[in-house]
């Protein structure tokens, strides 16, 4: 931990002001009774005592973004002809995200394999991703919906973070994970970590202890495929789901989108906006046929994608960071852990199917 620094609590505001002065700074803020990410404003209370309801995913993958603008243009020579002028929209880039929990940033490691891989690079995503730095805050205590340790992560997982902060008495121990992060720690407000490095270790060990025994979810990959046609199983698993999609919109690893042309008069914009597999329209085909007509088919997709299909094509990596947001915010209390475990149990009970 020789790169570790110490930021006294009393210097936090000064550091945030410093970060905000050199670019956009996004922090978890209290808005009404909710905690959501938004631009840093010294007048809006910063909330670090609990994880934000919505992860900071919209900083890199906005809920809605313009891909291009178009206008129909009449040909001056021949008015029966209409051409089109298209203007590409390049994303405005560059932000530091402060105060997300490690799981909220780790989610982007799931996105990267999809949007920023060799031979398949989404320019909008890649530009934002490259220009964004994450200063995350390790958890002191795991909540009862957290299961990051089931998916190979933990309350102080540095994957996806550029700087990892660990809360210790009197301040934060700050460690650079990437070069981008190291640059942020060059601030004169940072002191050497000294004895605080040991305190940080103890905080992390305590957080790890607060988690229950990790379950091995690797058998879920086969087990979910085996349950694919068992609609009775999926009907039971999805009975209380109201098919709203809150789980996917709040999920740091859900990345599905919709593209629509929003016409206005003689032109319009092409938008890319979040979509979600819990919605009827998600797989609705132009013919009117819908291969996923019920909420059972749709929840099957959500769980299957994360624990089976994605790991199947990405070397066993689970597309879930175990943050528990889908559990905490589900209006019906659907618990993805229960579904994964039930599928695994079903597979051991009926190995031949």
């Amino acid at each position: 931990m020789e790169t570790a620094k110490f930021l006294p609590e009393s210097s936090l505001e000064a550091w945030l002001a410093e970060l905000a002065s050199s670019g956009e700074l996004i922090v978890p803020r209290r808005e009404g009774d909710a905690v959501v990410f938004g631009p840093y404003d010294p007048n809006v209370p910063l909330e670090l005592s609990r994880d934000a309801t919505a992860p900071p995913k919209s900083v890199v993958f906005p809920a809605c973004e313009e891909l291009l603008r178009y206008t129909y243009v009449k040909d001056a020579e021949d008015i029966s002809k209409t051409g089109m002028s298209v203007e590409e929209v390049t994303p405005a880039c560059g932000a530091v995200v402060f105060g997300a929990r490690p799981c909220g940033a780790r989610g982007f490691t799931v996105y990267d394999r999809v949007f920023d891989a060799e031979g398949m690079r989404d320019p909008y995503y890649a530009a934002r991703r490259a220009a964004t730095a994450f200063v995350t805050l390790a958890c002191r205590e795991a909540g009862s919906a957290c299961f990051c340790h089931w998916v190979g992560s933990g309350p102080a997982d540095p994957q996806g973070s550029d700087v990892l902060l660990t809360p210790v008495p009197g301040g934060y121990v700050a460690e650079a994970v990437t070069e981008k992060g190291a640059a942020l720690l060059a601030s004169p407000l940072m002191a050497p970590a000294g004895k605080h490095a040991g305190e940080a270790k103890a905080v992390r060990a305590k957080a790890m202890e607060s988690l229950d025994t990790a379950q091995d979810v690797s058998p879920a990959r086969e087990a979910l495929l085996a349950a694919f046609d068992d609609m009775d199983f999926w009907n039971r698993m999805s009975a209380k789901c109201i098919s709203c999609g809150a789980c996917t919109y709040l999920c740091p690893t859900c990345y599905c989108f919709n593209i629509t042309d929003e016409a206005q008069g003689n032109g319009g914009t092409r938008l890319r906006s979040w979509d979600n597999c819990m919605s009827f329209q998600f797989t609705l085909e132009a013919s009117g046929h819908n291969p996923r007509p019920t909420k059972a088919h749709r929840l099957k997709n959500r769980v299957g994608h994360k624990f089976s299909y994605y790991p199947g094509i990405h070397g066993g990596v689970v597309a879930c960071c175990g943050c528990g947001r889908c559990i905490r915010s589900c209006p019906a209390g659907v618990d993805i852990r229960e579904i994964v475990l039930a599928a695994m149990e079903r597979a051991t009970a009926k190995p031949q199917e």
Binding site: D33, I242, E262
Partner: protein, 319 residues
């Protein structure tokens, strides 16, 4: 609790003739009850009753079209059943209603204001007028009126308004404050521009997830809601505050005179937007104009289901 045992016995008796009976069981934390779909006697043994049975099981009824199901209800949930019956969205002979007197449910947003992160709560017990909540920092004792759902403090219908089986001694109406009415009065006192600014501000954080819509027992278009239709594409996909507020207006207007004020829309909103006030306002207008309250009288005809050339309280020619 004797009445819980009684209702369990009644559910077990009825189960063979039903697809399932909807109730609650303990969820992922001691504060969270979660819907339970009982299909076997073992499932019935998991049934809970008490302050954490927050969700409205009537929301699921229209999803069981053509099947016979049972539903366990609090008084407020029974209003949704009544309204669904009035609108002929469910058939009386297809539902078996199990009721018990309700002493109120908890508002988890209010608990969070007291204890912070409710995901860290490891025990929660209500004893009479106190809710005791234990977090890693220790136990906090909170007076019940400070954490009960607003609707419970002045609840007029703590016993199911319709039921086939009822267990327990009926309770009298609650006589507490009506914080929702106070909130409505404060909103009504605002000037239009200020009011609009208020709604624009709170809707900013809406993520357009539609949990408010899907949780609503009376929102029955669901998969075919105009907010998401592709063809025609009524609402844009923009995430501007204008579009978000537009959707709330659509929801609220489609619920005018139908909303039973169960509060599920607001409770389900992951970002705690206080949207119930919009429904309450429209209900107040409907009450005033048509003297109608949704879900209290199975025989009454909802105002949107009737038409009179001259409405008694609408002065159409007087301007």
């Amino acid at each position: 609790m004797q009445s819980l045992e009684d209702i369990k016995a009644k559910i077990k008796d009825a189960l063979p003739g039903l697809d399932c009976v909807i109730g609650w069981e303990r969820g992922w934390s001691p504060l969270h009850g979660t819907p339970l779909f009982m299909r076997s006697p073992e499932d019935v043994d998991r049934l809970t009753w008490g302050p954490f049975n927050v969700g409205n099981p009537a929301t699921y009824l229209t999803g069981f079209k053509g099947k016979k199901v049972g539903v366990v209800v609090k008084g407020c949930d029974s209003r949704s059943v009544v309204q669904l019956l009035q609108e002929k969205l469910v058939k009386r002979e297809d539902v078996v209603v199990f009721g018990m007197p309700c002493e109120g449910v908890v508002d988890l947003t209010k608990v969070a204001r007291k204890v912070g992160d409710i995901a860290l709560v490891n025990a929660a017990v209500r004893a009479g007028g106190t809710l005791s909540v234990t977090t890693p920092e220790g136990m906090v004792e909170i007076p019940w009126e400070e954490v009960a759902a607003d609707k419970c403090l002045s609840c007029q219908y703590p016993n199911a308004l319709v039921s086939d089986h009822f267990a327990g001694e009926p309770l009298p109406p609650a006589m507490g404050r009506d914080p929702a009415a106070e909130q409505l009065a404060a909103l009504e006192a605002m000037a239009p521009a200020e009011l609009f600014a208020h709604w624009a501000k709170v809707m900013e954080r809406c993520i357009r997830c539609y949990a408010c819509r899907n949780a609503c027992p009376m929102c029955v278009c669901r998969d075919h809601c105009i907010a998401q239709t592709r063809d025609p594409h009524w609402l844009t996909q923009e995430d501007s505050t204008r579009e978000k507020l537009m959707f709330q207006m659509i929801h609220a207007l489609h619920l005018a005179g139908r909303c039973t004020e169960c509060g599920e829309c607001q409770r389900s909103c992951p970002v705690d937007i206080p949207i119930l006030a919009l429904r309450r306002k429209l209900n107040a207008v409907v009450k005033d104009l048509f003297d109608y309250q949704a879900g209290v009288d199975p025989q009454a005809v909802p105002p949107l289901f009737t038409f009179q050339v001259e409405e008694a309280k609408i002065n159409e020619r007087g301007w």
